[in-house]
């Protein structure tokens, strides 16, 4: 029988972790793997949680870092285009779930953003974190959060309205590992 506290941790945070993971990875299977990995990491490091951020922010920081690591592993392993995940699969699922063309366009536009911008968008638009909480979770300056968010909103909004998304700042399907703003979470495992 799963420890009650662990069960509560999963019940309270797994969906938010999934949204961050899927936002970064755009692959539902990998996103679920990241949810499981994040929950194990969070559970094992729970004693180290110092409480200087909210538990949700702390867990989402672990989720973001775990997602970025998974993304890098996937890029490193990918040797041929057919090995890369079929982005349309996620879009198709979303279309069935939501029944709106705008959601499909949004998914494609999200694919064109870099992973940091995707996390910023998810943490703000879906999880409702403040700019300061996002800066803390992703370990980036507040100004970076705001500028990335605004740029991402312009791209996504244009896609939803059918104007065609502006050229994304970072091509998603690059084979080379991309430089990133951080290597390891500052407090998380």
């Amino acid at each position: 029988v799963l420890d009650r506290q662990l069960r509560t941790l999963i019940d309270d945070h797994a969906e938010a972790v999934y949204r961050v993971a899927y936002g970064v990875l755009r692959d539902r299977g990998l996103a679920e793997d990241v949810v499981q990995e994040t929950m194990v990491k969070a559970w094992e490091a729970l004693d180290d949680f110092r409480g200087d951020a909210s538990l949700r922010t702390w867990i989402l920081r672990i989720a973001h870092n775990t997602s970025v690591s998974a993304l890098r592993r996937r890029r490193d392993l990918a040797t041929a285009p057919e090995d890369l995940p079929d982005v349309a699969t996620g879009d198709e699922t979303a279309r069935r779930a939501a029944g709106r063309e705008g959601v499909v366009a949004l998914g494609r536009a999200l694919d064109g953003l870099d992973e940091l911008s995707r996390s910023v968008v998810v943490l703000r638009e879906v999880e409702g974190l403040s700019y300061a909480q996002i800066a803390d979770a992703l370990d980036v300056p507040l100004a970076t959060v705001k500028t990335r968010l605004l740029r991402a909103r312009r791209v996504l909004q244009a896609a939803v309205e059918g104007d065609g998304a502006p050229h994304p700042p970072e091509p998603r399907r690059s084979r080379r590992p991309q430089p990133h703003h951080q290597e390891e979470p500052p407090h998380g495992p």
């Binding site: 999934y18 705008g102 959601v103 638009e125 300056p141 996504l156």
Partner: protein
């Protein structure tokens, strides 16, 4: 080396290191929430994700616990065997 103006350590109030940009803030306010509903629809997990996560986490933690116990038993066995086969110090008996 000059300090990085964007470096931020935890505990610093972020606002103190980021100069205000009223135009940016205005545009952020004006576009707030416009995408939330579509994004939520796009990022909704599949049915049963919570249960699958709980099952997987449970299996992972059990496997780790079993592995740690096995290692501990192996270590204890090895130490015991070492004690049994090592030459006994006779303590200077003639």
């Amino acid at each position: 080396m000059a300090p990085d103006p964007h470096h931020r350590s935890h505990g610093d109030p972020p606002e103190a290191l980021d100069p205000p940009d009223p135009a940016l803030d205005d545009e952020l306010r004006a576009t707030e929430g416009a995408l939330a509903e579509d994004l939520r629809a796009l990022l909704t997990p599949g049915a049963g994700m919570g249960r699958r996560t709980a099952d997987s986490v449970d299996r992972t933690l059990r496997a780790r616990s079993t592995g740690a116990t096995a290692l501990e038993l192996l270590g204890t066995g090895w130490r015991t065997l070492s004690l049994l086969v090592s030459p006994v110090d006779e303590g200077g008996r003639p």
